[in-house]
Amino acid sequence: MAFASTPDHPGPGMSSAKIVVAGGFGVGKTTLVGAVSEIPPVNTEAWMTQASKTVDPVAESDVKTTTTVAMDFGRITLGRDLRLYLFGTPGQPRFWPMWDDLCRGASSAVVLVDTRRLDVSFPAVNYFEHDSNVPFVVAVNLFGGVLTHPLEQVREALGLVESVPLLTVDARSRRSALQALVASLRNTLEKTSPLLAR
């Protein structure tokens, strides 16, 4: 199958979309990705090679550093020509450059929180509030199926503005996880084309 295609006129190939699943260590990112992915979540050590900044941007003698980052992802094929990728963020803040790379081109983000350890997801909430243009929702992962704190309390504790949707999810449940993904995409629709979202 060969399509006539040039950079200006892409052929009718497959396209892909991406949702980022963020949050602190142990909040259920890998569980959520695994619950909906058609492939086993790929948990991989990605090597990031970064060029340090020098005065001359084209200098070939830049000092290079290699960082190893654990990231995981899954995928869902939606019809013949569309694939959705789910990327879990590496937990530690020292991997911010990786977060930028992961979020570039993402349609939405789901920040997972665990009410027993809200603080581990603070950096992720901060990131999407201040450092990213990807619309996001916050989802309280119901470990054991029980909501231990009312959502309004969670919203207050996170300092989350009203415009950011706050929902609950059972990351182990395929159905629940899919609903959270849909909610995040609907939020993007509402934030980016508000008149057309309905």
Partner: protein
């Protein structure tokens, strides 16, 4: 990772760390017509990427992970392969990740998948 620990990654890319197109981690790569002769002439890392993409379209992140080639190096090598027409970088059909038609298609697709 199966990357060769004795070779600093950028040596494989002859010092290049930037690419002309931005390849997202989820950008799909495919091979329209696999050529064994071409594969035989490629360096090991590029060959692994080329052979893997020929099996079925995969994202940049998948290729990097499955072939044990770092993301940065994967991007540069894929760009080389694309510039000589060996692989197809499936250009995004939609202008933006926030394109309304794309979002609606993904939402509908997920509901069907549920």
């Amino acid at each position: 990772m199966t990357a060769n620990p004795w070779v600093r990654p950028y040596v494989l890319t002859r010092g290049r760390t930037r690419t002309n197109h931005h390849l997202y981690m989820h950008t799909l790569v495919s091979v329209d017509r696999f050529d064994q002769m071409v594969a035989g002439r490629l360096a090991p890392e590029a060959r692994r990427l080329y052979e893997r993409a020929a099996m079925s379209p995969e994202s940049v992140a998948e290729l990097s992970s499955h072939c044990g080639v770092s993301l940065g190096v994967t991007r540069v090598l894929l760009e080389d392969l694309a510039s000589t027409g060996r692989i197809r970088i499936n250009a995004e059909t939609y202008d933006s990740p926030f394109d309304r038609r794309l979002l609606k298609r993904v939402i509908d697709g997920l509901r069907e998948y549920a």
